[in-house]
Each structure stands twice: as C-alpha cells, then as structure tokens.
Symmetry: D2
Subunit: 376 residues, 4 copies
C-alpha cells in the first residue's frame, strides 16, 4: 500500500510563538510524545472525516525573523510553554521546518506594482514548497502579529492582505487566525470569490472571548439583564506589545464586543483593555467583570479570571483548522467554509454562542465525511 | 368575557426567603411595578404556551414559622433583596397570601400511622385552599430549608417526603426545588407512578452549578483536560446554616458533582465547601478554581467568582416551574416532566449541559403550545 | 457650663455624593443613629486629642448643582450608600446644611482680574458662614469632581485653586481630598507659605491605593521581586465619568504609581485603568494583578479585588481630616501638617507605607493633645 | 587568612520539597547562579549582623524517604519549582548533602524507654555530622510534613518532639518551621528551659497568613469593621495530603486564626479550608474573602487570590532562620529568640502585624551586630 499524500501547512509568522508551538506540537504528537489535548479534530466526532493525519503534515512559512526554530523552541521550553526535553528530541523536525521558511519582505509594498511583485514572490514560495515536498496541497495560515487597522482602501495592501492574495494566487486554502485584515480587504473581494479555494477567519478565539461565548448565552437564556461587561487582558510576548497599540487593540476588541452584542441582543456598558506586560511572557491573564440584574432588579456580579498560555491555546486550533481546510479543499468546497465559527472571534457567519458553533462544527464534520460511511 | 381560571401555588416553607421573594415578586409583576427580569417563561419562546398569567396566581403554603409575610418582606427589603417600598405597596397581596398559610407539624412523624395522618392533614390543607379560592389547580413547590440526607428507607419519612406525598394525595403537580428527598423516597415510588400528576425536581440550579453547566461543556468541546475543579460557597441566611451541616451539604454536593461528571466524562479532583457566614445574609459568593491542561500539557487555570442573591435567583425559577407544571397538568402530562433539566442541579433525565437543557426546555414549550397555534 | 465652640466644615462640591454622605453621616453619628465605623478619630488613640466633637460640626459649602441635600440623600439611600430611613430622620439637619450652600461660579475665570474677584466672593461666602453661625473656625475641604490636569502656570487658575486661594484669604485651614491642583499651583505658593493656616492633601486614599500601601511594603520586606503591578478600576457615579477623562486619570494615576515606586524602590511594569461604568453607581471595583518573583526566580501572582462604596469610604476620612485640621489650627500649626500621609495618595511628605503613616498619625495625635492631659 | 568556620543546617524531612529547594537554592546562591530573591537576610539591614555566609553552610538531616536529593531536585525542576539546569549544575553539592542524611526511625516510639533511645540516636547523628564536617555549630530545622495534633501529654511524644528533644540533647539551636508540636510539648518544657540554646517557631508564614498579617492591621487602623473572613487553600504535594487531614488542618488553622484575632481584637466569622489537590503539585492557591462594614454600615468586600510555590516561599525563610539562629547561638542567646514573629504564623511572642514584626526583626539584627560595628 502506498503512503498517504502529505499536506503542507504554510505559516505566515513561521518563527513566532504560535507557529513554533504548532510545529513542535505536531511533531510531538506524530512521535507519540504527547497526548492530543486541545485538538478538537482528534476527538471521536471527527474520526470518520478523513482529515489529513497529524504525521502527514509538512511545515514551512514566511517570517521576517531569522532566529532558527530549534532555538525558538528552546526559548519556549524555558518559558514553560512547551515541555523541557521536547525541543531537543524533535530537533530534526524543527530544523526541517526551519529550512522551509522563506524570508518576508523587510519593507511593505509602496505602490501597486510593488504589491503585485511581492504577491507573486510569496505565491511562488508557496508553490515551490508544495512541489518540492510533493504535497497534495498546502494550507496557508496567518499567525503573524496583529496589524494596526488599515486606513482606507486606497492605501497599499497591508502585509496580511499580501499573503492572503498570495495564497489565492497559489490556489491554496487560507486561514486568518489573527484580527488583521487578510482577505477582508475590498481589493481582494473579487479574487476571493473566484479563486476556487476554501477559506476561514478571523481572529482565533482562545481565551476571554471563548468564555464570553458560553457565558453570554447563559445570561440570555436565564433572562438575566447584563448591565456592564468589562474586561482587562494582561499579556507579554510579541502579542502584548502589538495589541497594546491602540489601533491593533481596536481591531481585536471589535471581535470581543461582537460576541456580546450578538448573544445579548445589545452591547452592554463596559470596556476592554489589553496591556502589554512583558514580565508575563507568553502567559495571558484575562479578568472579566459582569454586572447583571436579577429578579426585581437585584444587583449581582460574576467575575472570571483566565490564566492561560496564548501559544498553547492557539496551536491546536491552528492544526484543527489546517486539517479541516485541507479536507474541505479535497472535497472541492470553496469560499468561506460554514461551521467554523467555533474557532473565531469574528466569524463570517453562523451562530454566536459556542454551543451553537460546536453543533455547526459537527455538521461540517459530517459534510466532510466520505459518503461510504466512515465513522457513520 | 369571563375571567380566566386562577392557579394556586402552594409553597412548602411559605415564609422563608425564597417564598417571600416569590410571592412579593409575583405581586409586583402583576401590578407592573417591576420588569420580569429572570423569568424565562416571560421570554418570547414561551409566549404561545398558554401558561397561566402571572396575575392569575394565588399563593398559600405550609410553614413552621409564624412571622407574617408583610414583615418578612420588610426584612428582605432591609437586606436589599427586594426593592424598598415594594412591601408596603403590596401589603394587601402579602397579607392575603399570609392568611392562606397553614402551620406545619412542629415535630416529625414518629411512626407510620402518624405519617399517614400528617399526610392527610397536609393534603386536606391544600385541597381546602384550592376549593376556597376556586382555583383550576394548585402546584405544590418545596422551597423549605435543605434536610439532612435520610438514613434508610426503614426510618420515618422526612418532612419533605410527607409534603410530597400530600401533594400526590391531593392530586397536585409537585416541584422539589431543594436537594431534600421529597418524592425520591422508595416508599413514595408507587404513589408517584400512579398519581396521574406531573412532577419535577430536584435542587434548583441558581449559581455555581449553573455556571458549571456552561463551563464544563466548553472544556469538553475544546478537548481541554480538566484536572481539578474546586469550589467554595459562602452564604448566610437560613440556607447557609442548613447547608453547613455535613449531611445536608452532602446532598447538595452530589448534584454539584454530577454536572461535572456528566459533562466531562469523569469527575476531576477537587472538593466543594459550603460555609455558613451569617454576615452575608441572603447574599451568596461562590468561588470556583479550575485547573486544566492545554496543548502539550501546559497548565492553565480558570477562576470564577459569583456574587448573587440566592432568593432573587431562585424566585423567578419557582414561578417558571409552577407555571410550566400547571400547564403540563392542564395538558394531562403525568410523571416526571421531560425538558426541565434547565432548572435543576440533579434532574431526572435529559442533557447535562445548559445549552442542551435549554433546547429541551424550548421543546417542552412547543409541546405545551395548543395545536391551533396560539401565541396570542 | 457653656456650650463648646462649634466648628464649620465648608465643602467644595457640597451637593456631591461624598459631601452628602459626609453631612448625613455626621448628623447620624451626632444623633447616635449609627456607630462610628470608619472614623479613625473616634478610636482610642485620639480620645485625648481635644478634637471638635462630632455634634459640634456645622456644614456649608459651594456647589454648582442645585438639587437640595435632602433629595440627594434620598438618592444615596436608593443606591444603598446610606441606610434607608436616615435621610428622612435627618431631614432638618440636611435642610440646614443645604441652606448654607452658596452657588459656585457657573463659568471659570477668564483673566486674573476675574480670578481675584471670584476668590474674593468665595472667601466672603466662607467668612459670612463662620460669622453667621458663630463658629470658632471653619475648615475648607475640596471634595468636588477631579479636574483635568492644568496645562501651564500661565493659564487661568483652575476652579480647585480658586477655592484654595479663597480658603487662605478667609484664614481657614484647607484640605484637598481630590487629585485636583488646589494649593499645588505655583501662583499660590507664596500665599500658602504666609497665610498662617494649616493645610493637607492630596487625593484621599480610599481603595486600591490603600491596599497597595500595605501590600507593596510586604513584598519589599520579604525581598520578593515585584515584576509587574497592573490594575483596573470600574466605577460609576460622577467620579467614574470624571476619571475616565484621560487627563483626570493621569492626575489620579500619578498618585497610584507613587506609592509603588516609593515602597518598592522602583516602579514595576504595569498600567492602571479607570473605567466609567454608570451601571455600578457609587460602587467601585478595583482589580489588581501583581506578578512577582520568589526564590530562584519562581513566578508567583497575587490578585486582589476590592468592592467598595466610594462615598462611604471617603466620608469618614473627610470628617477625620476636618477635625484634625481644626485642632491643628487651634494649636496654631501652620503650613503642611506632618503626619497625614495616612489619608492621601499623594501626601506632601512622610513615609509611603501605611503602617509608617499610621505611626506618624499617632504622633500627630500626641502633638495635638493638650499638655495637661486632656481626655486622659 | 584562615577560612571562616562553617555552619551546619540539619533538616528534619531532608528529602522533602522544602528541604530540597533549600539545599539547591543555597548551593545556587553560593555559586552565584541565582540572585538572593526572597532572602531577607541578604538585604541591607542585615549586612552588619555577622550572619554565617551562604557559602559556609553545610547540609544534612533526617528522613524516612530514600529517593536521593539529586533526583528529588530533578523532579522539582520538572515541576517548575527550581530552574531547569540547576540540579545537574549542582549535582556534586546535592550528592554531598544526600550522603549526610540519616534514616528516620520507620515506626514511632511505643514507650518512654524507646523514646529515649530514639532521641539518643538522633542526637548522636547530629553530633556526628557536626564533628565529621568540623562545623562551628549545627542548627536543626523541622521541615517535615505536618503531624496531626497530639492527643494528650500522656501519649508518646510525636516524632517532631523526638527530633526537637534530640536537638536540645545535642546542644543545637532549633527551629520548628511546621505547625507540628516540636518543642511545644509539656514534657519538653524543662529541657527547653535549661538546654542553653536558642530556638524559634512555629509554622512558617508563607502565603495566606502573610497576607492576613498586613491586611488585618489595615482594617483595624482604618476603623473598618471586619464581619467575616473566609479562606480556601488548594495545594498538592505531600503538604496538601497532610493538611487535608482534619487534625493537621486544625493545627494549621489555629495559627491562621490567631493572626486575625490578635490584629482585629476579635475573631470574625468565617472558616478556613485546606484541600488536597494533587494536580496542583507544589503550587498553592489561597482565596480569601473578607466582608467588612464601612461608614454607616455600608457593606464592602475584599478578595485576595495568592498563587505561589510553597517550597519556593519556604526555602529562603529556612535559610534566614538558620543563619539568624546560628548567629544568636554564637552570641550566647538562649531560649525563644525575640524578634522572629516575622517568619511564623504562631510565634511565641511579639507583635501580630507584619510591620511590627519586621521592626522587631530589625531590632534583632541590631542585637546580633558586633559592638565594634563590624559589617566586614
């Protein structure tokens, strides 16, 4: 029997914390060095969906940074993000992925001709990766630092949109795991519509918003009146610095607010802060304070404190999405894939509550399952 | 046009905080003095279910205490549970309900003959109430303090079971809103099966367990491995004292643990404490600490702090349940009513996650809706 | 025996929440309707310091608002800040204080001649109050909403400085309980030096900073390395809106940061947010997250959540300060009074830790005690 | 110039987490591999106190366990308690300390003759250690798991008291860092009085009680009325299991309550729970909920959440105490050493607030300082 076709996972921001954790984790799971905690696609409902096996994934990507992946993985082990010992045990896999990383352009495109040339270069990098490794297909996933919100459609495309355009041009499924613009740029609308590839986004739901997507429906179902929902996020790492920029925070907070408005019927009072606290490294703390009224106007409060490792929360979702989009592409699905709101703060469509999103995801698993039955 | 038939609500523990809040609140809503916050049966999905209107409810009950309801309501206003001004504005309604309260037996039954006589007395009290007020039917709801867990089936019936038996004997729908035994006594099984009335229970889900029923599914759906779920509850009022009794706490905690085991597939490490803190009065604080593993074994923590008023959380659910059971009885449903797990820590059947329970409740609303359509 | 001389308390912002709570509380204590909880000057160490008795205080002040004090007090009772029943029981006292309130100028002074005229008017109001009521002296306390930070010394004096200048001109002791400029204006320096009255400030320490002034010394004494100290404040009322203004928040945060820098030797990472959440009314929630290193670099975290009523925290400190300044004036102390750092976020001098500040306050009590013993 | 005399540190429970962290840390500090975070005796006020240098400490002890220290240290590195890399870098030092550990008796003494023989054996082990290594003196520190509270003076001495008696018999300063009985046994009172050695105890103050000793004075100084102080502790490791035993918890909680009663003047409502949560390992979470009344009876709440590593909190205090007791012995101080309440939940004497205890500790540092001045 022949070996199964392999699938490429091309990461924009391939030497960042999320990418490094994703690549290290995939290699650890393939080598049976860790259980698949956090991977939804390894749970029973997905057993029959013919997703690409974890040991068939091949990694590459773009990045401006040059620190090699094995060294980045060691740093993450120091920080407690990945287990000690794993980076050295997986040195070969990390080095192989590192060799497949192509440099990002150091400066943004300054006019439309430059843009087109850059998109071409990026698309060629991806196609070259697919061909060199003999891959069935390659899924492009954006896990780079959040960009400031773009000004106007007339300005040059932001980097995230250049990479998204490159994915389309290379005929690759595309996932935007960040709040950056990516495919959501008016100048990419036509290409997205006609490219014939599946895509998904945006802004992975890893902490505070995940919680909000189960708590807000609870208040709504119990007819409790939420009066104010306030939040503070403390995080270090590159993400903390990027998101402390007011413009980037605005992009992120739009998603956070949408989950409240959609589930509660109206946006309650309250703000969300994102603070850069370098001392916390990859660890993120999110505090939420929810003031609500109960029967006869009684005043009540729920507070939540979420302490998690951002990269470890994101990485399994990146693997899930890459596998689901690879299979969707194999099934010839195109355009925005329905049923992936479970993964995103700001999904294209579908229900706003996590349970509804989970049901929609199970439906998608069913649609991806081969007709002959599989895990019926 | 004739006035609609009225429905009785007979409360066991009719002068307790939950009952007083329930009666005050129903009167306030009937008089349009407060919005129906917390009342699920006043939300759009229930508009067509032909539930008894709030202004058609008539209150009575049993209690050992003699402090009159208007005075109890004043005390609750002092404590901030109900708005100041409401008790005096609703004095007539509270006094009328108080006049319909019958004394509970001061001492428990000591042998089976005494038991039978007591059940008869209680059943007669209820029937008399129904007849005197010309009610279409009366729903009996247990909101008395939690009893210690009963020893053996050979011992005398605990008070909660005497009242449950009286409800059956009087042909009334019955709701056990507490973790006490109620209908769940082997010696009542046969009567429950043959009484031809609908019933529901047990142990209203008002705080920590409500939260757990949305958070536990989140961890399961995201394939995150919950390692320990610990909780502490601080509450005053009579409930704090009753639940600080180890035996009563055990009864309560069984329900709290079940929601975790059912949603997570296994019971994680961790204990639940219930402390009597008289200084907190009717206000309850519940702290939960959830240690979970993410990708590659990363250690993460979620903590929740719920600060609520127990009586204000319970009262609208009591009204919901009474209305739903009255309508179920009108529709000739008998036995345990399917679809009420939304309200209980320890339901007889149905899904364990709140969202699933909410769907089941909406299904019930559909079954209660008159065939002709009817959302007037 | 003659009645003791009475003391005036002139409040800038006399119809605000803090002032209304102060006046209501002083009247309640004088009438023995409440215990002196929160009043440091009613504890044993101050028994001999010959402070003006609580029932000898007479209230007046300036305000732009016109809603009468009895009505303001009713609103605070509705909001749960003062006990129900108190405003009506103390109606006479509240109405008397209300009658002594003079209007503030509706618009700020536009040039220095206007300034001088306004200061004169305000000084005359205060002097008139003192004379009319036959008071031994009047202490002026600023409890008005926080002003934005002033631009330059060349700009017109901000309102808080006009009132401070009026206090000096009227020969009255002065307390700045807010972070506004008050006496801290270069153009008032000379007058403050020569006025011959005692003064104190600034920015009352009522919540988060109070906590920080005991927690920061703990870390320092234990040689634990604080790496980041982050905070979020949620509050409604007028104060929430005023402090959510970036400029006003900057004034407030300067005090909050100083307590950390002074106690820890250096300012750790971390920001402080102040959010206006109208739904919370006078209730304030402050969350602090402190990341610190222990032995061998182990990472640890302390979090605190403070839920208090801002006006109820401030009011007893206002009474304390007025009594202490009145006695200091009687003792002919002039200039900044040493030993009041216990009360302020941003004191003029003295230790930065609460315990050291408390010792300094006890020293002041000793200095205020009559040589012969007084209340032995 | 001659080498300075060396000092022994004999740990009861020498292979436990606290002891292993202490030994690893002392070696790391001697080798300049870590900064002295958490070591109070390395701060400026102690520079002149002639304490034994960190690189002059020699370790030994008793334990029933046989897992060698280098392996225990590796396990602590895995658990994130000590930095990765340290155990291997310090293998020689850990192995040397391990070689100096003598076995504890497997079973407790059954009668007084057995007791005396055991005490003799233990004392001989200690003396032998001192002599073999040519030490100036050896300080004995109990860091073994907490014992259940002893029944009556007639019962056999608990193990902690046998070791305490052995320390006295060997003429060694003694520190009880645990809530176990140790020297606090009536049958050891006479020996303690006449042994001519300094001693200190008991129950190291490392988390929740440390916080309480700064927060309780704050409430007292501000005249705020604490109504209820409730706490929950979650911890794994051996300590979690030991303290979850009701009898051991009772011993520990006595100390926790004393700090409240002593600082507040009366013990407020509220309980303390200690839960064994193995999943947390050496990491401890303590939640405190403090309900207090402010001005006019307003209800306010402070909550604290302390997340620390128990061994990393304890280890530097163990080093501090050993150094201070060694110097006290050198200065011929005998009996309970005044000024060490800073370190203990249940000190023999002195102030109950942390700041007062810190002042007392600085006084002790002064008393230990050579008259000529001497901070060499």
């Amino acid at each position: 029997m022949s070996t199964p076709p392999r699938t490429g996972l091309w990461l924009i921001g391939a030497r960042g914390s999320v990418a490094t954790t994703t690549i290290t984790g995939a290699a650890a799971l393939a080598a049976k060095l860790a259980p698949p905690t956090g991977l939804v696609t390894e749970t029973p409902p997905f057993a029959g969906a013919s997703l690409p096996p974890l040991d068939s994934l091949v990694f590459g990507g773009h990045d401006t940074a040059s620190c090699p992946l094995p060294k980045r993985a060691e740093a993450l082990a120091e920080a407690g993000v990945v287990p000690h010992g794993l980076p050295s045990a997986l040195h070969a896999e990390l080095a192989a992925a590192d060799a497949a990383i192509r440099p990002s352009a150091p400066a943004p495109a300054s006019d439309r001709r430059d843009e087109d040339a850059l998109i071409d270069t990026y698309a060629h990098d991806i196609t070259d990766f697919t061909r060199t490794h003999g891959l069935a297909r390659t899924v492009v996933v954006n896990v780079a630092s959040t960009e400031p919100h773009p000004g106007t459609p007339e300005e040059p495309l932001p980097p995230s949109s250049l990479y998204a355009a490159a994915a389309l041009r290379a005929g690759c499924p595309y996932v935007n795991f960040t709040p950056s613009t990516g495919l959501h740029h008016p100048r990419l609308a036509e290409a997205a519509r006609t490219a014939g590839v599946p895509y998904a986004g945006r802004d992975g739901k890893t902490g505070q918003t995940l919680l909000r997507s189960v708590l807000a429906p609870m208040f709504a179902q119990r007819a409790l009146a939420v009066r104010a929902w306030s939040g503070s996020n403390l995080l270090g790492g590159g993400d903390g610095a990027a998101l402390a920029e007011p413009a980037a925070a605005a992009a992120k907070n739009a998603g956070k607010e949408r989950v409240l408005a959609d589930n509660l019927g109206a946006l309650p009072e309250g703000e969300v802060h994102i603070d850069d606290v370098p001392a916390l490294g990859d660890w993120k703390t999110a505090w939420d304070h929810i003031a609500f009224d109960g029967f006869l106007g009684s005043r009540m409060i729920l507070q939540t404190i979420w302490q998690g490792c951002d990269s470890a929360l994101a990485a399994p979702l990146v693997l899930d999405l890459a596998r689901l989009l690879a299979r969707a592409d194999e099934q010839r699905l195109t355009g925005p894939v329905e049923g992936l709101g479970f993964y995103f703060k700001d999904p294209d469509s579908g229900p706003a509550d996590l349970h509804g999103q989970w049901r929609a995801l199970l439906d998608l698993a069913g649609r991806l399952t081969p007709a002959s039955g599989g895990a019926a």
